[in-house]
Symmetry: C2
Subunit: 231 residues, 2 copies
DNA sequence: AAATATTTGTCCGTATGTATC
DNA sequence: TGATACATACGGACAAATATT
């Protein structure tokens, strides 16, 4: 009796082959993939199978396709993976959501030092304006999810850490569905705390900045674990 | 002039809808998805479009399909993604890899305090054994990737933070493909540093534990940014 | 600016192999 | 063994979006 090596399904083989095509030809972001017709002929598969492989790549953010234009290699980006795979089941229960928020807090507190020194004057000006947006949005709607997100993302974007940005972005995406439970008093003080962060940045005072960041996280919803401390 | 809202492509909508179906019905690993035919009818799309969505999920490891049996939800697993998306793209420039290692370092340093107090006596005994495995594997093969991973995962698993575990797991997966460039001298001292971590745990000395963790990360490959410091 | 070609998007039908009862 | 349900795979056809002439 011989070993029954079950061959991999065709669309998975095809996925690998296309991937191999990209790496072996060293295709860069912006480069074109051959047309579906050409790839079908080259790989000897039907158009359906080929599409199942390519659409998978598209949904993972590896390529982007549009009619008349073709299929184009995309730059490195983990956003889709983070949102749809890594944090796939998070929305289901509150414990996971709190874990995510806690991880965000830890990451922001860990990277705040690097962020502080990476921020340019223009970045600080932008942050001042975004803090204004938070206040504005709060006074207008009693809410400020979008502005809050933009503020925090802008704080860490200058670091240029792609993975970190993707991670924070994915967590914020979940956040937007869960922020509804906040109390108004927390929101009010939170508006002020964002302004305190900007003030510290404007004065180029890292210690004040760190204190303001900690204060920001130790309020309201960010209360899963103890706050940041030195050991 | 009205806003030109371009509708998303059907197979992307469908992907989301199926994902929504899984979460809203709270389907667990092992549960069945409806048949292709049934889903086509329910979502009002053709079989091809539906398959492009489902095959994407299969390639991401979210479900598994086979003829005669149907489509089944899979437990959380990033293997395929890591192998076929991350690693493949990461190779373009190892900046991404360094970013991931750095994030791991930050997370481990952030959570070490909670981990320290969450560890039971049995956990420490396990860690002692795993440190032994590291030495053993190193002396036998000159290498210890698997044992290293197991050690670190066991350090933080007792925390019970699902998201954190997933994240660390994902980063380790990339690590295993990239650790090949380490120098032997670093490896030797790294073996000792793992043992130092366990010794601190056995003596229930948080300060020594923290120092050992920092020392561990400040050596060899973990040199992207400055080491952990209080502010 | 308009017509035409190219390329992907979407649908349908059919045959085959596999798992289950 | 046979019958049924299901995913796998192929092919053709037309629509829609984009690029080209």
């Amino acid at each position: 009796m011989s070993v029954n090596q079950k061959p991999e399904k065709l669309y998975i083989q095809t996925f690998r082959q296309i991937r191999g095509y990209i790496t072996s030809k060293q295709l860069q972001p912006g480069d074109q993939l051959p047309t579906e017709q050409a790839l079908c002929a080259e790989l000897g598969v039907s158009r359906n199978v080929l599409r199942e492989a390519i659409k998978s790549m598209e949904l993972m953010g590896m390529v982007s396709a549009s009619p008349g234009r073709g299929t184009v290699i995309q730059p490195f980006n983990l956003d889709f993976i983070m949102q749809n795979v890594l944090f796939f089941r998070v929305g289901e229960d509150d414990q996971r959501v709190r874990e995510m928020f806690d991880i965000r807090r830890m990451l922001e507190m860990s990277y705040m030092r690097q962020a502080f020194y990476a921020l340019t004057k223009d970045d600080v000006i932008l942050l001042r304006r975004l803090a204004g947006n938070i206040r504005q949005e709060f006074e207008k709607t009693g809410w400020f999810t979008a502005a809050d997100r933009e503020f925090h993302m802008s704080l860490f974007r200058p670091l240029g850490n792609t993975i970190l940005n993707s991670l924070l972005d994915a967590i914020w995406m979940v956040d937007e569905d869960f922020q509804l439970e906040l109390k108004r008093s927390h929101l009010e003080s939170s508006v002020r705390k964002h302004e305190a962060i900007v003030e510290a940045l404007e004065q180029y005072d890292f210690f004040a900045f760190a204190k303001a960041m900690e204060a920001h996280f130790s309020s309201g919803k960010y209360t899963m674990a103890q706050t940041y401390e030195e050991y």
